[in-house]
């Protein structure tokens, strides 16, 4: 990454650099390494369709499925990253996911038969709207009551799931097929491959990356998390920023719920229980600092991918299922440590380079 630039690759490189820093490059390497290791260590099986032997991990089905598994976490992790950059934390995303899904399912059920496009649109609007609203409530409570986000979102985590529960009485509610048709559209891939979750994940990540690095509100989030007092002295709209980060987090939870409702075709008040911790872990593995001021959307995506890969590895390598928790727990700590080391190493390299080159 520190080789002298060559003119040919410059354009592509600068495009990549816009969305991805040194930090993320390290994560990409780690992810690639894990994927390569899995491919090498995995067995192979006969693909019945194609009639050839394929690698147990490196085959289109497993790869797309891994991306699909990651997509729900990744989408929420982008939102979580925004909150974490601001120095906050959001424990309520799992509950927002459940409530958004339940709300859209109940509404769609009450609306009866509708054209496919309308169904998808209603579901999207309701999920996104409910998610956004819950996020704004979180933010407003944090700002208005001056209570630590951990406590506010712990409270709303219970309250929102409680509302979803009362609304459904724990029944799972089916969604109209139009929604599944959308979330499982093959888009020409065919063969039981569903690219929509992956595409939505990429879309949300790019949007998140642009928001964080290229917009005023995004930049304000970094300032807020980097130094609250200095942000006040610089005249930033602190309340709006803080409400904003929770709104984004709620919105991504709503989007993930839209995707989940469509993909799985049913919702229940128990959905996404405990996801908040996976989502925060993904953001932190992706380089977000819980102290605030640091993090990236691309990192969140990669963090979610890595965690899902770790879980996948147990199945791919046919380890005893019982060890899943131990493996995932260790892997998360190791991933964060590796990420911190590579960040520090990058900082050292950068400073050495800066020393060599005279001041601008």
């Amino acid at each position: 990454m520190t080789n002298p630039p060559s003119t040919r690759t410059n354009a592509a490189r600068s495009l990549g650099r816009r969305l991805m820093g040194r930090q993320e490059a390290g994560l990409v390497l780690v992810t690639a390494f894990v994927a390569a290791a899995l491919t090498l260590l995995a067995g192979s099986h006969l693909d019945r369709r194609a009639g050839v032997m394929v690698n147990d991990f490196w085959n289109s089905h497993t790869l797309v499925q891994t991306a699909t598994d990651a997509s729900f976490f990744a989408i929420m992790a982008v939102g979580a990253t925004v909150v974490i950059i601001s120095g906050g934390i959001d424990l309520s995303v799992g509950s927002i996911y459940a409530l958004s899904g339940v709300a859209s399912a109940i509404l769609l059920r009450s609306m009866g038969e509708m054209p496919a496009a309308a169904t998808v649109l209603v579901a999207l609007l309701v999920c996104a709207g409910v998610g956004l609203l819950c996020g704004i409530v979180n933010g407003a409570l944090v700002v208005g009551l001056k209570v630590h986000p951990f406590i506010i979102t712990l409270g709303t985590m219970w309250v929102l799931r409680g509302i979803a529960f009362v609304a459904t009485r724990a029944e799972s509610i089916l969604l109209p097929p139009a929604l599944t048709g959308f979330a499982k559209a093959s888009l020409g891939l065919g063969g039981g491959l569903y690219p929509v979750p992956m595409l939505l994940m990429l879309g949300v990540t790019v949007a998140g990356a642009l928001y964080l690095t290229r917009t005023v509100p995004g930049r304000h989030v970094f300032a807020f998390g980097g130094n609250l007092e200095a942000s006040r002295f610089a005249g930033l709209p602190l309340g709006r920023i803080q409400i904003g980060v929770f709104a984004v987090s709620g919105l991504t939870a709503g989007l993930a719920a839209f995707l989940g409702a469509g993909f799985y075709g049913s919702v229940s008040s128990g959905d996404a229980q405990g996801y908040e911790l996976y989502v925060i872990a993904a953001a932190v593995v992706g380089g977000a600092s819980l102290i605030g001021g640091r993090g990236s959307a691309v990192g969140a995506l990669l963090g979610a991918l890595l965690i899902v890969l770790f879980r996948q590895s147990i199945r791919t390598l046919r380890f005893d299922q019982n060890y899943e928790w131990i493996v995932v727990g260790c892997a998360i700590i190791v991933a964060v440590v590796v990420d911190q080391w590579s960040t520090r190493a990058a900082a050292r390299r950068m400073s050495r380079a800066a020393e060599a080159a005279p001041a601008a």
């Binding site: 290229r214 005023v216 970094f222 980097g226 130094n227 007092e229 002295f233 005249g235 520090r344 601008a360």
Partner: protein, 510 residues
């Protein structure tokens, strides 16, 4: 005087991002008061922290009283009789003053803490510095000056034989500074060795026997202060003669009124403050520490929701409730504490510069990054900000350069009314002169500047008029022609005009 109290031998220290010390060798004589000078980032604090056991050197040796030491932490240093008054005032706000003072070795009996003994020890420590404080109070309630005094008491009281004072007067007013000088005198009488870091020239000549100069982490020279001139010292520090340490006073004529406040009151903080700023004017705001100067500036800037009063900008009555409104009206505030209130330390110079005006650079909310960078680079150039690159996080810049970034922010914002709260605190002579020149230039170009400073020479040299605040009320106003250090001091302290001062600050004027 045979073995020096401290000897640094080829001491090296690098941080991620910079080389702080690059082979420093110097000696501090037993019982002396030895000044350490140098520009911001020269490595003074780092050298002190190595002696105090906070950093371990990457290379070289440290000898205390002739014996090599390798401190594993501040505890080891304290045990070896080395104490330090830190530049950053770090305290546990949640603990009492007494507990903070005894933190390193809390009095305990059979495993249980002894609160009565803690209070007794703390009071004894404070008595040494002459500060009067209830040691049972939570430390968080103290003002900056009181904190500085507690910091000094903590370091001095440990019975240390060698004490490093790292810019101990940067938050002290004249009065408290005098007390510190007296304290150092008493310490020396007991044979304590003092290492004294400061950017204030008069202090150095007043207090110290010898001075060592650091530049870019290297030792430049060590000289006895006797026979050394200020100009020579400055030349050693910055590597060239400083053209003018303080610039000529700005020209003034009656010009358009830019800011007027009247009846400004914030209950419990200040009352009935009135003042006017004209284009081309530098108005000094003087007062003892705690007089409420910062609070007044912050209130004008919309940071004090409890403040009441009338404000006019360019003749129009306005209501400023948030800093945002203030910025839109052309105000800018360089806060007192640049690390806490001024900068997002982890963010780049560019991002820090554009922070308050990002919206202006971003049509539709999209940041025009090229324009943003160009703006920052432009002002960095004008202000001679030294940074590896505009993208470098400002945490890695020296204090003076950090201060310039905060100033650049308001210049880039085209603020016409600037309130500068201690703009040269902890800033080295070179940068200080540049900031002084800049203030003068700003006024000359038609801005109005409200200058808050605890350094009277600075105020006297730069201001057109000086408003004096005492106990949150205006004590008076002096035109530059009638202002002298002595008159200002009396007004600040509330003394009659004629009575001669006993602890003459005049003794410090060279």
């Amino acid at each position: 005087m045979s073995t020096p109290a401290v000897r640094f031998e080829d001491v090296r220290k690098r941080f991620p991002g910079s080389v702080a010390l690059d082979g420093v060798t110097l000696e501090i004589a037993e019982g002396s008061c030895h000044a350490l000078c140098g520009e911001n980032g020269a490595g003074k604090s780092t050298l002190g922290k190595i002696l105090a056991g906070i950093h371990a050197p990457d290379g070289g040796r440290v000898l205390v009283h002739g014996r090599e030491v390798r401190f594993g932490g501040p505890r080891d240093a304290l045990a070896a009789g080395v104490g330090m008054v830190h530049q950053e005032l770090a305290f546990c706000d949640n603990l009492s003053v007494a507990e903070n003072l005894c933190l390193g070795a809390l009095p305990a009996r059979r495993g249980w803490t002894d609160p009565a003994e803690t209070i007794r020890q703390a009071e004894a420590l404070l008595a040494e510095t002459g500060a009067e404080l209830d040691v049972r109070r939570p430390l968080g309630e103290l003002s900056t000056a009181q904190r500085q005094l507690v910091q000094i008491a903590a370091a001095v009281g440990g019975g240390a034989r060698i004490i490093i004072f790292d810019e101990p007067t940067s938050s002290l007013g004249q009065h408290d500074a005098e007390r510190l000088y007296a304290l150092i005198g008493r310490l020396r009488a007991r044979g304590v060795t003092c290492i004294y870091v400061s950017h204030r020239m008069p202090e150095i000549f007043h207090l110290c026997d010898a001075v060592s100069v650091l530049r870019d982490g290297r030792h430049v020279a060590t000289r006895p202060t006797a026979g050394l001139t200020e100009a020579e010292l400055v030349r050693m520090m910055i590597g060239r003669p400083a053209a003018e340490y303080l610039p000529a006073p700005p020209m003034t004529g009656e010009a358009t009124e830019l800011l007027r406040v009247d009846g400004l009151t914030s209950p419990g903080r200040f009352h009935d403050v009135a003042c006017t700023l004209h284009a081309g004017e530098v108005v000094g705001l003087a007062g003892l520490v705690g007089a409420g100067r910062s609070e007044v500036a912050e209130a004008i800037f919309g940071l004090d929701p409890a403040a009441r009063g009338s404000v006019w900008v360019e003749g129009k009555p306005v209501r400023i409730r948030t800093p945002r409104q203030a910025i839109e009206l052309g105000l800018g505030l360089v806060p007192e504490d640049r690390k806490k209130q001024g900068l997002v330390l982890g963010a780049s110079g560019v991002h820090n510069t554009s922070l308050p005006i990002l919206r202006r650079l971003s049509p539709g909310g999209w940041i025009r990054r090229r324009a943003e960078r160009a703006l920052a680079v432009d002002y960095f150039g004008r202000m001679k900000v030294r940074t590896p690159s505009p993208e470098t996080p400002v945490a890695g810049l020296s204090g003076g350069n950090q201060q310039k970034v905060v100033l650049a922010r308001w210049l880039a914002a085209q603020s016409r009314i600037l309130m500068l709260d201690e703009p040269t605190r902890g800033v080295d002579v070179g940068a200080k002169a540049e900031i002084h020149a800049l203030i003068t230039e700003l006024a000359a170009r038609g801005s109005a500047v409200l200058l808050i400073s605890s350094e009277l020479p600075e105020l006297l040299a730069l201001s057109t008029r000086i408003v004096v605040l005492r106990g949150g009320r205006i004590a008076g106003e002096l035109h530059r022609a009638e202002a002298t250090q002595d008159r200002l001091l009396r007004m600040m302290a509330g003394l009659a005009d004629e009575a001669p001062s006993s602890t003459g600050a005049g003794s410090m004027e060279n």
